[in-house]
Symmetry: C2
Subunit: 504 residues, 2 copies
Amino acid sequence: MQRAAALVRRGCGPRTPGSWGRNQSSAAAEASAVLKVRPERSRRERILTPESMNPQVKAVEYAVRGPIVLKAGEIELELQRVSAPACALFPQVMALCTYPNLLDSPSFPEDAKKRARRILQACGGNSLGSYSASQGVNCIREDVAAYITRRDGGVPADPDNIYLTTGASDGISTILKILVSGGGKSRTGVMIPIPQYPLYSAVISELDAIQVNYYLDEENCWALNVNELRRAVQEAKDHCDPKVLCIINPGNPTGQVQSRKCIEDVIHFAWEEKLFLLADEVYQDNVYSPDCRFHSFKKVLYEMGPEYSSNVELASFHSTSKGYMGECGYRGGYMEVINLHPEIKGQLVKLLSVRLCPPVSGQAAMDIVVNPPVPGEESFEQFSREKESVLGNLAKKAKLTEDLFNQVPGIHCNPLQGAMYAFPRIFLPAKAVEAAQAHQMAPDMFYCMKLLEETGICVVPGSGFGQREGTHHFRMTILPPVEKLKTVLQKVKDFHINFLDKYA
Amino acid sequence: MQRAAALVRRGCGPRTPGSWGRNQSSAAAEASAVLKVRPERSRRERILTPESMNPQVKAVEYAVRGPIVLKAGEIELELQRVSAPACALFPQVMALCTYPNLLDSPSFPEDAKKRARRILQACGGNSLGSYSASQGVNCIREDVAAYITRRDGGVPADPDNIYLTTGASDGISTILKILVSGGGKSRTGVMIPIPQYPLYSAVISELDAIQVNYYLDEENCWALNVNELRRAVQEAKDHCDPKVLCIINPGNPTGQVQSRKCIEDVIHFAWEEKLFLLADEVYQDNVYSPDCRFHSFKKVLYEMGPEYSSNVELASFHSTSKGYMGECGYRGGYMEVINLHPEIKGQLVKLLSVRLCPPVSGQAAMDIVVNPPVPGEESFEQFSREKESVLGNLAKKAKLTEDLFNQVPGIHCNPLQGAMYAFPRIFLPAKAVEAAQAHQMAPDMFYCMKLLEETGICVVPGSGFGQREGTHHFRMTILPPVEKLKTVLQKVKDFHINFLDKYA
């Protein structure tokens, strides 16, 4: 991954010195006009340099927004949206919360007003513009707990265990920040899947924790194999103290949905090995494969009985950014943490309070996500139609993408059981690998750069997520509308075939 | 401060075990009902405990939301709002951005619609619900740069040096995170004022950096004295590498506004000592004293000539939470960073990108703050009236608070030249100090607890901000409406007199 890191830096590099030079001179020019001075270009050694900066931050890699995306500008960002918007109720409630005068307007449905009033009554000064409690607005945490209890068929959730966050990323990095300790061989080890969502490796690097990789089984639809967890934890014990196990289900970037049996095995393993479980379940509403169902770690944990349900420490994460609403810009999220030591609860609230509170608009967004219309409410039918259509389309696109990729020689794509991405394996000819090395690029980075240059399509190289040595992949979102996606897939197919010819 | 730290933990402690116990048992009860199991209370040693947790996080103190505020519940949070809302344009533009269908409604002023359209056109999918670029929406960064250029009388600002953040706190902790490095005696030292806003000590502790205190001169209206900076940096060099100088102007909690001369001295000092300057200027619109004016560090830096303007590394911070709008719940903010090493720019964007982007609604909020109505625009007159009245009231309340406190025997209050707080010194009788020690509380914590219990008024003890050994203070916001504030001040006066009697 060193090479990728270098690329990230280089990727940012060329963009900035250029613009920086320009800014300085234009700034200088205008300044002299204004202030009658003529800046000399001579400058002393800076205080903050690549040599003097925080080495953990320097080591951070974040390919999802790395050179490819920088080069592509906003392309991928626009694709990140599920639809615009997925459901009318959402912007209606948000607008009512934002500008309460609208509560008198007849052009808003009653249940939208009811939701807005409930949220506003719980906000300081009846406004999204006031700070909330650090843990989040009480009634929103109650709605989250009620949602979890419904989702898990009655397994109780307690609002006191719910923490509203600035997207799921914030919750994940906050919990990891509290968990990491020790030095040398007793430094905290954090187990993450490979391929992973790069937030994990980035935060682990920031915290100077030890990344412990366990590999998902590509030959078996990216399934999680507990024997691989055993292998990873045993090897890790030689050089660190494995204390945390991160699971992403449904998988990002790999799109697998874990079976109930697999989750039970993982929980038993965490119990055996005394690991704190982090369950990244932000795609819990995004399951497409008819033979798959989402099972929450919390529910399975309780069903395994008190020895587990009263012992295993578990944090699970959700967000407004995925599901069928995909309101990522509001940065709403929550985490539910169970079996947490009572004093640690205080420590967690203290740590959250340093940032005062999550955006209150994001908290309101979270409330709408966990509190959808029910039969009898004015918005119910339209909402249900919209939800059906968004999820139905995603399912169609998941199948379409899998099928089309698998028709292309030199591409193999596992079923997209859930989440929002395809992560096909690409078999690159030796000549392409050499060409990439000549450009000091990871082979799949080279492939993705060429794809971007030749087609304008932005996908993220597998090397940014981690992959078994010698294998190559890319991550592509399935969010564009069906017709647009078909065109994109056709273009990738044509590009790939030409690429194979070129480097045969 | 150790005692305060203990208190913060204790303060959080009692609240949680109780509720935790309750949650567990109720959870267990419901669980058994649902799942026909009877949880045993026997539990193994937890993985995450006060002993095993991250010691830097454990050492964090954050009195602004410590035991007093926890005890007071939402009281202080509600007081944090400038007004509800300070200006009609704000919620109008936010509502239009949130629910673009409203752009057709005749009940919104044209300039509100113009602003909303401009923001939406720059957002992915024309929606606040999409991710933005990690550095923030381009046109909003352009508006911020234009605002700074106007504010600084033509000193140029470049959008490429503007980074939108999740409130100012996020920007401050991000820059500090990049700056901190080294081990042992070469660990980065960060100079902060005492009294300080506790975000600084909290982040320094999280990052395991070295806090270097310089004391503001209470006898001289909390002025910053450069000789004190010299003393602090010289002493610090024995045990760390002082690399960063943090300034809060106007001051929080101390409310002083720095003179231009003082800022020039500070900049010269930073240049001499090779310190990276952090200028926390979130209260730049909150200057009340007729003999004070806000001078930005950026402007003074440029006026000092090229040797400074092209060498001194400066990050300055602003926010939507203060000023005359006080929209803190949206968590909007920006930082302008000048003379940053080109590669560090890439590093900074990479670090910001790990959290994807600041809340887009907060970015829109920031745009409204830096882009107020101008003469000729429909909202201009109402907006100007509202702004006048909010700032006029704050100025009245600042004077009122100073005057009333100074009538009370045993209280001395410096002029509130700016910001939003009074930080009066309280002279506590020896018996009160003994009583506090008997309760294992800092004397001013004891005083504030009694005040809260007897009057329901929530103020934050000076020990949470830092103060010279043996002196005692509290911080009180001046945000409540004039009449409410008068009552509050009268109650504090009566309480204080009784308190002196009681412990005479």
